[in-house]
């Protein structure tokens, strides 16, 4: 019926109306990605001259630790967000009750405000004369102010801060649909709380955890603004190196090569992650 009606009434020109979105998507998304790949095989200065020297110079350079550091940072951020975000999601769906909408509102609000302002807000906490130092000095725990800014710790802290909603919301949306009778049944049948948690709850909310991990890990790996503002000059991350190369003079091809190499590493890492999660489900 549907097809017959459609063929009767279908507007043949509809394809032209639908085209702009598809064309836009292909020209400004897929072709540029391909282009980046193409450019990475170009000589930096003499465009049109093909070479793989961009890639070989990447291997020689000291950027392997940068990639490693970014992977560790992304891993730390996603696991910390998971540890903090799970109780929060649990609270929202099972304990908050009628105040839930208020708590949800507070959780979504940061997502809707410029995250640079959140980074900026942390200066007021971490600065030499900031809130944290004042509290610590006042309680007498430290004799003089500690320098919190421009350190890896500051980057890690603010990363967790900025990405927490991205982990909590997917888990929350799964927990919302969770049938609590399953927990009762499991306890009735003699399982301990820990057993119920690992055998019933975790497998069921795993899709939420998975998408949360994905939503945090991928952008955290390429994060640029937080390390640039809070990390100081010594600790480079993938995002900073990309910016340095791409916006530098005559290093765009090298930057493209770095971006391609990094995205392949990211892809492999995600596949590895997915493989482990699959293994966990099977056991």
């Amino acid at each position: 019926m549907k097809n017959r009606l459609q063929s009767l009434f279908a507007d043949r020109s509809a394809i032209f109306i639908g085209m702009p979105a598809l064309v836009w998507q292909v020209i400004f998304f897929y072709i540029p990605l391909f282009f980046m790949f193409y450019l990475s095989f170009n000589d930096s200065i003499d465009q049109g001259y093909y070479t793989i020297s961009n890639y070989s110079s990447l291997f020689k350079s000291s950027y392997i630790p940068v990639i490693f550091r970014s992977l560790l940072l992304a891993l730390f951020t996603s696991l910390s967000c998971l540890i903090i975000g799970y109780p929060l999601a649990y609270f929202l769906s099972f304990i908050a009750g009628r105040a839930k909408i208020f708590y949800l509102f507070l959780l979504i609000l940061p997502f809707w405000t410029n995250f640079l302002l959140h980074i900026y807000a942390w200066f007021y906490v971490l600065e030499r004369g900031g809130f944290l130092n004042r509290i610590l000095l006042w309680t007498g725990l430290i004799p003089e102010p500690i320098k919190f800014l421009n350190s890896t710790a500051a980057v890690m802290l603010v990363m967790v801060y900025c990405y927490l909603p991205f982990m909590t919301l997917p888990i929350y949306s799964i927990l919302e649909k969770f049938d609590r009778r399953l927990i009762e049944a499991s306890k009735d049948l003699g399982a301990t709380s820990w057993q119920t948690f690992t055998k019933i709850v975790v497998p069921l909310i795993l899709p939420g955890i998975q998408s949360g991990l994905f939503l945090v890990f991928v952008p955290a790996f390429g994060e640029f603004a937080i390390p640039a503002l809070l990390g100081g000059d010594r600790n480079m991350y993938v995002g900073n190196v990309i910016v340095q190369y791409i916006l530098g003079t005559d290093t765009m091809s090298l930057g493209a090569a770095f971006t391609v190499a990094v995205s392949i590493i990211l892809l492999l890492f995600i596949l590895f992650f997915a493989f482990i999660i699959k293994k966990v489900i099977k056991d």
């Binding site: 459609q6 507007d11 540029p32 991205f166």
Partner: protein
């Protein structure tokens, strides 16, 4: 007894988490009313920084640029999204084409920005507001198409059939039946695209060039070169606006398939 203990434990953890989330913001807001600039301690209440914010020409220029880019990107992505839905209603074979748009959400924004910049600079396209609009409309499509498509799939097809049976043409049916049903999801997607474009930093950082300044880039520059409490005043105002937008978004209560 034991479950009561759990509850207290979790509630404490949640309280600490919200403290972690909002303490910096609260301090930021309090200091926007301080008469002296930060590191100095609290002196006395003043609206001095709000006054200075009002007269900050560069900041307002950046603000208007952001608004222009956000409105254009929202308009473009919504229009293209609606047109795509019209095409979708006409042709049954579009499903795998829709999948093309999910890429924007999967690829990290920095890679997308690098790709776009290398592409634009290869053809020596001058960077500026137009290139920003192109990039942000692309980001917008990645949200508009999945959200509106999800809503479209939930629509009752019998309404379309009834309309066609009663003699309406395809375009009449789309304008009078389908589009009104899509309105909540269109508003939600539009709000989301607007705010994402308005707050976007990475893509703007790459594609703005040296002449165009958006609010995010301006804030970034100011934080780097030592910010004044003008930014605090601005943050306070922006937080109020965002709160209103979030309330509007929650009130629409559209199932967005982003999370």
């Amino acid at each position: 007894m034991k479950s009561a203990l759990y509850r207290i434990l979790i509630s404490t953890a949640v309280f600490l988490t919200y403290l972690f989330l909002y303490l910096p913001i609260i301090i930021l807001i309090i200091y926007s009313f301080n008469s002296a600039a930060f590191p100095a301690a609290w002196q006395k209440f003043s609206l001095h920084w709000y006054q200075e914010l009002w007269y900050d020409r560069d900041l307002w220029d950046a603000f208007y640029n952001s608004i222009i880019v956000a409105i254009s990107a929202t308009f473009l992505s919504l229009t293209m999204g609606i047109a795509l839905m019209y095409f979708h209603m006409n042709s049954a074979r579009i499903k795998r084409w829709i999948m093309l748009f999910y890429g924007n959400l999967i690829v990290p924004e920095i890679f997308l920005a690098v790709g776009l910049l290398t592409f634009l600079s290869f053809f020596s396209v001058p960077l500026g507001i137009p290139t920003l609009i192109i990039g942000h409309a692309l980001l917008g499509l990645g949200y508009v198409v999945p959200i509106v498509y999800a809503r479209f799939s939930e629509l009752d097809y019998r309404l379309t059939e009834a309309s066609l049976d009663l003699g309406a043409s395809f375009s009449q049916t789309f304008i009078k039946i389908t589009l009104p049903l899509l309105v909540p999801s269109l508003i939600a997607a539009g709000l989301l695209v607007f705010i994402i474009s308005f707050d976007d930093f990475i893509l703007s950082f790459f594609c703005a060039g040296s002449t165009a300044q958006t609010l995010s880039l301006y804030i970034f520059g100011m934080i780097r070169s030592g910010a004044s409490p003008v930014i605090n005043a601005l943050s306070t105002l922006l937080l109020i606006v965002s709160s209103l937008l979030v309330m509007l978004f929650c009130w629409l209560n559209v199932k967005t398939k982003i999370f």
